[in-house]
Symmetry: C2
Subunit: 200 residues, 2 copies
């Protein structure tokens, strides 16, 4: 597994042998069965994740309703909103599939950055890529209808529609499951988009 992280990082910076060894420490990697809860609302958010395999969903319970905030898949970081903060988590993180992740704490990250300052460039690049994705995501979300959001999701992350239950996709798009079914039927009738098999 360590090799996957080294391979990923080496797309951004040259990885020296000692850094490769440090990154391969088995203690950093964790395997979570499907359904594992990585974080609960009200707990301190002491751990960040970088996904090597699987899918993680962040959600809140609001007036008894399960509302999906986001999905994360391979090669994506999962950073709780309150990561490293004093205030407690406002949301849940759960593994939608069996998941393998690099797990870290703010202390460990600080130590790694102090010991291997070359990691700062890759962190900066990744933070920029993440900011960019988030800005785009927020912009598109603000100006689009649920149907447009669905089409875009089908286009940008086609695998996701097959991997997670439809009711989670519905709350992610900000609609009720019935509306998502209607959207999918409309798209199927027009023959556009990539309709996913129904898992709701």
């Amino acid at each position: 597994m360590g090799n996957e992280l080294v391979e990923f990082l080496s797309r951004y910076i040259p990885i020296s042998d000692d850094l490769a060894i440090a990154l391969s420490k088995a203690s950093m990697y964790r395997d979570f069965p499907k359904g594992s809860v990585l974080l609960r609302e009200g707990e301190p958010a002491t751990r960040g994740y970088f996904l090597l395999k699987g899918c993680v969903r962040s959600y809140v319970l609001k007036d008894g309703d399960d509302r999906t905030i986001d999905f994360f898949i391979e090669e994506e970081p999962v950073i709780p909103l309150e990561y490293g903060k004093l205030r407690l988590s406002s949301h849940f993180l759960e593994c939608v599939e069996e998941t393998v992740a690099v797990v870290s704490t703010p202390d460990q990250e600080e130590r790694m950055l102090a010991e291997y300052p070359q990691l700062k460039s890759v962190c900066l690049t990744m933070a920029e890529i993440m900011s960019e994705k988030l800005r785009e995501c927020l912009a598109r979300y603000r100006i689009s209808t649920p149907e447009e959001r669905y089409r875009e999701l089908a286009e940008r992350r086609p695998g996701l529609l097959q991997r997670v239950p439809q009711y989670q996709i519905a709350s992610y798009l900000g609609v009720k499951p019935e509306s998502l079914s209607r959207i999918r039927r409309r798209i199927a009738l027009r023959g556009g988009g990539k309709a996913a098999p129904d898992r709701s």
Copy 2:
């Protein structure tokens, strides 16, 4: 004006004298009258901004409708979605007020980072703060009603409600101007929230 940037950055890293001088170069600063358009849809997005004074709005024209994506104020970076990319801008940037900004291009940024590598830490910190804000913003937007969004805006960025026209606030919250008026009346009746004077 250079001093404001130095003062801002020195909250994050010690600023050497030569860096302070480089940051004070008048050529980096620009003054834009209210209403200036910094970027149009369909233009290459060759410039990034860091606001020292004023307010900038990003928006799109969709089916003839003006839809606000975001507002930016003092000490916030304004990075077009397509900044430094080959594809053309999908949105507009306009100054809602008279605005003073540090203006830069990807090339200039690269040169500054090569010459003053200590700036990387501050860029990393800012990219992280920005990612954090964006993640929170997106999460809140996905799970909240327009009224909740308005209350939150009034709480987190109280000044903004006084500074920009109400129809822009309405599209930012994802509602029609009439709905925003209703929301504001409801809140005023209950005696909660900070209602802003109507500028629509």
